[in-house]
């Protein structure tokens, strides 16, 4: 039966001609791989193809969306009432907390003005849904149902109700790809809330675990410490919770502690996320800060170029994610996709890591890993008390080993 079928005859040239086709196609594939890996030349093509294939992903997602819809529309009145009451209570509580926020923000801005550091501006949020499709098993990536058409941009950070989820890596028009913080290629600059010690949290490929590979042996870190994003590197906005330290081990003979942390966001369950869009310009920059800095450099040399050269305060990733789909290529091809890239890193020849930031005096002594090897710049700079802000640090030396988001793509 099979042999009598019309299309089963071999092609005349299935022996030799096919070899030519093979060589051509294999060459094309290899060239594509090299281009994609090396230079990110294919961003546009990927965007187009991704947009073309998005219907497939939407089709896969549809049943899950239908389940959500059914749960919403078939819920009983009682359920809704209960849920409504709960949400009301939550809202009340949250707004109660927010009341003080305005005052605190203003106070913070004043303090920063006094310190001559740039202001921490607010962020705009955009709600997006994670499309329920599996991607590469070994990479922690997700597809979002918002793209540049809806205001999402590559480089934006993703958060859920509890913490940082990841960052947008590729924009595809009406959808986008994002990298979770647990992807092995992702690194989030973080600081320990308790003492302001800065380091980098690197994904492990395990949804429940991040590792902090650059903690010197005498670093002040212990289980239970909350890590928040430090805002260095400009990709992730400062101040969002990232993970909780769950385990600190120091094996003798190892130069660094091995520290693991558990992401605070529910990476495996989250469906709705917020895209954080830093405001491009500070709404009302604290009056003193920007103009004052260029001339005098008494306090923090490192911060000057950031505040002086570029208007963007570097709490915000503005320079990285300018806009528009083709801007996509910019951040990725840009010289420093490293953990501590862009704004403040580039203009300044790196201050040596151990330069104590002037604010850090006695208070930081215990948290200062005295001689941090060059590989641990983020752990090294002793920081002042609690929150002397990311800007204050000699953040410049981009740590060679740190893969910040999407290093090898």
């Amino acid at each position: 039966m099979a042999l009598s079928t019309p299309d089963s005859e071999p092609r005349l040239f299935s022996g030799t001609g096919a070899g030519v086709r093979l060589v051509v196609l294999v060459t094309v594939a290899i060239v594509l791989m090299v281009l994609d890996h090396r230079n990110q030349h294919l961003v546009q093509i990927r965007g187009l193809l991704g947009a073309a294939l998005y219907p497939v992903q939407e089709a896969v997602d549809a049943p899950f969306g239908a389940v959500d819809w059914a749960r919403d529309s078939l819920a009983t009145r009682d359920t809704l009432v209960v849920e409504n009451a709960r949400m009301r209570a939550e809202l009340l509580e949250q707004s109660g907390r927010l009341q003080r926020m305005a005052a605190l923000e203003a106070e913070n801005a004043r303090m920063r003005a006094l310190l001559e550091s740039s202001a921490d501006v607010g962020d705009d949020l955009l709600i997006s849904e994670i499309v329920a499709v599996d991607m590469d098993r070994l990479r922690h990536r997700v597809v979002l149902n918002r793209g540049s058409a809806n205001g999402a941009e590559a480089g934006q950070a993703l958060i859920d109700a509890r913490g940082v989820v990841g960052q947008v890596t590729r924009d595809r028009g009406t959808s986008a790809e994002a990298l979770l913080i647990t992807d092995p290629d992702n690194a989030v600059p973080v600081e320990i809330v308790r003492n302001g010690l800065r380091t980098i949290a690197v994904g492990t490929g395990d949804l429940e675990r991040l590792s902090l590979p650059y903690m010197a042996r005498n670093a002040d870190v212990k289980a239970g410490d909350l890590l928040v994003s430090s805002g260095l590197g400009g990709k992730f906005p400062a101040g969002y919770p990232v993970a909780t330290v769950i385990d600190v081990r120091g094996d003798s003979g190892e130069p660094f502690l091995s520290v693991s942390a558990r992401p605070t966001a529910q990476l495996d369950r989250v469906r709705e996320v917020l895209l954080v869009k830093p405001r491009a310009q500070p709404p009302e920059p604290p009056p003193a800060a920007p103009p004052a800095d260029p001339p005098k450099a008494p306090v923090k040399p490192v911060v000057k170029p950031a505040a002086g050269a570029a208007p963007a305060p570097q709490g915000t990733p503005a320079p990285q994610a300018p806009s528009s789909p083709q801007a996509l290529s910019a951040p990725q091809a840009s010289p420093a996709p490293q953990a501590i890239p862009a704004p403040q890193a580039t203009p300044e020849p790196p201050a040596t890591p151990p330069t104590p930031s002037p604010t850090a005096t006695g208070t930081a002594a215990e948290s200062a890993p005295a001689a941090a090897p060059p590989a641990a710049p983020a752990a090294a700079p002793p920081t002042g008390d609690g929150a002397p802000a990311p800007e204050a640090t000699p953040a410049s030396p981009a740590p060679p080993p740190a893969p910040a988001g999407e290093r090898s793509e």
């Binding site: 299309d7 005859e9 594509l32 791989m33 994609d36 294939l53 497939v56 896969v60 098993r137 070994l138």
Partner: protein
């Protein structure tokens, strides 16, 4: 008779179905049991409709898979092209095998496909993963028989329809 060309609709629809199955979310634990659907479909059609399905089709399917997976563009395409070419090269022999030998041949081809993808991952410096990659190949071996039965069904329908009108 042999001049009659099959309409490629069946082929493309089944490939689309395979792409969908390749990205349907599975629980983490079951991920290692997901057969390489696209590879299986490409192998099947190269075996039985070699005029319609060959390296070029495999390339297109591979690029689509790369986009859906977010992997290096060309990675799966390369693997599928090579596998499809091998299948094409030996399709006359393989087709005449008894079923279990066809299954073994398909299993080998799928393993080779997985190896090529693994290799590309290694060269590009991506995480190469562990066991799941290979257990998926085994799952493909197990799923080959039902998949082949299903695709045979599709193919015979298409061919009969063609004959009736021809």
């Amino acid at each position: 008779m042999s001049r009659v060309r099959m309409s490629p609709l069946t082929l493309w629809l089944s490939l689309l179905g395979a792409l969908v199955l390749a990205v349907v979310p599975l629980p983490e634990a079951a991920e290692g049991l997901r057969p390489p659907f696209v590879t299986m479909v490409v192998i099947y059609w190269t075996l039985f409709w070699p005029r319609l399905c060959g390296p070029l089709t495999a390339f297109i399917a591979g690029i689509a898979l790369d986009i859906l997976y977010g992997s290096l563009l060309g990675q799966h395409a390369l693997a599928l092209v090579v596998v499809s070419w091998l299948t094409l090269r030996f399709h006359l022999q393989i087709r005449n095998f008894p079923l279990w030998q066809i299954t073994v041949a398909a299993l080998l081809l799928m393993a080779f496909d997985a190896f090529l993808v693994f290799w590309a991952d290694g060269i590009a410096g991506n995480p190469t993963g562990g066991f799941a990659r290979w257990s998926q190949v085994a799952a493909g071996g197990v799923a080959w028989f039902p998949a082949m039965a299903f695709l045979d069904n599709l193919r015979l329908r298409a061919e009969n329809r063609k004959k009736r009108f021809a």
